[in-house]
Amino acid sequence: MNEELLAEQCKRRDEVAEREVFSRYAPMLRGICCRYAVDADEAEDMFQEGFVRIFDTIGSFKWVGDGSLAAWMRRVMVNNAINYYKKQKRHRLTHVEHDDETARISDDDGEVADEDSFGFSGVLAAGITKQVLLEMLQQLPEMYRVVFNLAVIDGLRHKDIASMLGIDESSSRSRLMRSKTMLKASLKDYVLQVKRGKVPDEKHSLSAV
């Protein structure tokens, strides 16, 4: 069954088609949720909420070519993740963002740059897996993780990110820089541990395909 037919049948609330959509796209959409969530439980909750939203709003989907259904579903899932983040933001206390954040980031960058032991080649040599990268991403504070996901992985511009999150563009940029710095530090630690012969603990792991 091709995408167009699948979408049409889903619009008619055909359960067989819906089940087909679920089984075909669930792993990919769950991957998005894992990137935005802090752990596996939250990712599952976000995933269910997002899929319910997909089925509720599939009437507004217009098929424009191959891959358009998958792209539309990804977009819905990302929007749902942002909404989820906004809802959770009220209940969670994250790091306080200061105005002089950029200045501190510059200092951190300097520290990392001075270390010769860390480099991209070192990371690749350490044989880092998707699962490890996901865990590093999940360890980021929420406001940095969301901006990093939107900017780096989902490819949104800072202007769009700022409007989606209700923040300034400069805040979006500074958050991205901060998140990269933190990830760099995590990668450095990982490489050092691998070099010392210690394999990092893989708790809370998700089975990355």
């Binding site: 669930a26 599952e44 319910v52 780096v152 990269k180």
Partner: protein, 211 residues
């Protein structure tokens, strides 16, 4: 430095980008259950369910209770329409009738020695017209004339702030009026007795003169 950043971006986007898939625990049945739950709590006029019927009945009950017990005017600090300032009129005017033909018992503490049977004296029914003018010298403890005003005239002139105050005023007024009326009746009875005595004496005097 810039290259490092780009490398990190590339690393994460290639690893966790479009091709990143994760197997999870959510099954199709769990998703359907969640959809059902979501649609149950979501308002849909075409699908009125028990939840919304219960909500509706609760709203109706709350509205009826608020109307019955004046909850909203109290909350909003508004005066109840029934408690607004207005004169209260009473349709039924209380009337007091005194039957002058009834035998009159002597008042307590007084004795009337009547040795002879006097002829019956008919006191006219309108005798009460004169009771406001007691017999001079005969009755010193006559009460002041009672103004037999009805409750209606009093209440008509009364503009109490609230109905409760008006009702209270009426409740206080009625026993007071009752007491006054009872006193008046006693006075009338005494006067009747005195008139009888006077008549008996006059008759006796005439009888003696004839003899």
């Amino acid at each position: 430095m810039k290259q490092q950043e780009k490398d990190i971006e590339q690393l994460f986007s290639s690893a966790l980008g479009a091709g990143f898939e994760v197997e999870g625990s959510t099954t199709w049945e769990q998703l359907q259950e969640r959809r059902r739950r979501g649609s149950f709590f979501r308002f849909n006029a075409k699908k009125i369910n028990i939840f919304y019927l219960a909500m509706l009945s609760c709203a109706v009950a709350a509205a009826s209770l608020s109307v019955k017990y004046d909850i909203f005017p109290r909350i909003l600090g508004e005066s109840h329409p029934a408690k607004s300032h207005k004169n209260v009129t009473y349709e039924k005017k209380p009337s007091i009738t005194i039957d002058a033909t009834q035998p009159v018992a002597p008042a307590e503490g007084e004795s009337h020695d009547i040795t002879e049977v006097a002829p019956a004296v008919n006191i006219p029914a309108n005798y009460s017209k004169t009771i406001d003018e007691p017999v001079a010298g005969k009755n010193d403890n006559v009460a002041e004339p009672v103004e037999l005003t009805t409750a209606n005239t009093l209440v008509d002139n009364m503009t109490a702030d609230t109905l409760e105050e008006e009702e209270k005023a009426v409740e206080e007024f009625i026993p007071a009026t009752k007491n006054k009326v009872v006193k008046k009746v006693v006075v009338v009875q005494k006067q009747q007795v005195m008139v009888k005595d006077t008549v008996v004496k006059v008759v006796k005097k005439h009888v003696r003169q004839r003899e």
